[in-house]
Subunit: 303 residues, 2 copies
Amino acid sequence: MSTLTDISVHPLSEAQQRIQQDLLTALDAFAIPEPLKSAVHHAVMLGGKRVRPALCYATAAIQPNANAAAVRRAAVAIEFIHCYSLAHDDLPCMDNDLLRRGQPTCHVAYGEDTALLAGDILQSMAFEILGSRLFDQGPAVEASIVLKQMQILATASSKMVNGQVLDLQAEGKHVDQQALENIHTNKTGALISAAVLMAAVTIFEGTDIAIPKLREFAQAIGLAFQVQDDILDITSDTAMLGKTAGKDQQVDKSTYPALMGLEAAQAYALELHHQAMNALAHFDESQVAELTNITQFLLTRKA
Amino acid sequence: MSTLTDISVHPLSEAQQRIQQDLLTALDAFAIPEPLKSAVHHAVMLGGKRVRPALCYATAAIQPNANAAAVRRAAVAIEFIHCYSLAHDDLPCMDNDLLRRGQPTCHVAYGEDTALLAGDILQSMAFEILGSRLFDQGPAVEASIVLKQMQILATASSKMVNGQVLDLQAEGKHVDQQALENIHTNKTGALISAAVLMAAVTIFEGTDIAIPKLREFAQAIGLAFQVQDDILDITSDTAMLGKTAGKDQQVDKSTYPALMGLEAAQAYALELHHQAMNALAHFDESQVAELTNITQFLLTRKA
């Protein structure tokens, strides 16, 4: 695995290129009838930060002998799950979003029925890829490792849906920090943790303390990512619309700044950042250079 | 595994009782927030013939030393996938069905968003159950066997969606027998085959000729099931509504009787029945007593 440390502009850009190619290769491996094939392609290739695959690669970089194929399959699988969730989230019965990243959402481009089915098949395709020999150049990975990856992915995928429900239930209500944390831990945190853990199980035994350390790391950055998102919403609103944090709080939106105030939210993001770095301190600095870079980027990003 | 041979009235009824209990146990193993929990329960417990679990059990009965827990998990997992597909099929953007088995469909009872999420989570729950230790009383099943089950389920789940698309594409068109067969092989056949094969891999090595024989059997009954469905549609229509096969053909509905005529369709169902029984001839009669019973029932059923 090459490192991301030499990318000064954007630590995700190399991972973005790698995953882009692997996603295309993976999509080509499936025989899907039209128009579903185009809809699936659309849902997957819309782009995005590709944070989850980047976390897979960076975790695998802890140990140079990580099975590259198993990690690449995990990265594709987790991105398939993420893209399925976006296609379903955008549907009229959910968020009814017409645009995503400047392009028509899947149901706008292909109709609701096809967008629904695109999300459905992307979920099973994720498990197919994980259990396949795609990208293999050497012997097959042990079945017990692939099985662990599947268990991690399935559990995270279910948690993600639970998080969606908790989020829908919280709409228009004022929830406390524990409830907010519960939403995000499930809705986005579970898949971010899974990205790290699906790579981790390819290099560490289940009893290795590295696994709980990486879980701790992933949980902290997953939550920090969300807190930072909430903070950026306000920052960019202030710059662009002249809205203030105080106004956001007045409309009773359940965000971290609304809940605890902007400064306290910024302090909390920093605290989670420290938690993440403390968990990584278990490893040699050079082993976690990529994970450190991504962490730094995620928490200092401006958009 | 007890046999179904002593059930003279309905060879599926014992399997129905067994799966009912196991589905409830499996559902209880998940922490799902309301209203999703109730929606998932509704989608799963609406009932139905439970043909797929029955095929799992009957296949496992070929060998008395089949791992009972692995077979029970497979039966639950495949029924979860089937129920997810029904919940999504019933949605307004698909078939827009309001009633299923005399009860309100999932989206009528819980709203479209929750029904969508119920289907989504049932798919990942299927993989969670398959990779769990639920029902285990002895040592864990080999990881390689569980992995095979997951691969079979993931592939079948994708094929099912492809079949849906092919079916949507064929709406209002006159398709030939090959196209019709392609629709059904994917839409319903894949999951029926998976039910048989997920049990088969718990008792036979991948190289055992029993596996292709059982695949052949499953493909034949999967298709026969559909041909019989098409025939029954006409028969029950004739009795209930006075519609004739001739009229059905005139509206250009793509069914086997419409395509080849009622008598030829009946002959085709019988031929597929023979194909299925020929595949089972590889085994001792006593080993496949349950599979034979189910086959007989599926092809002589009146509803």
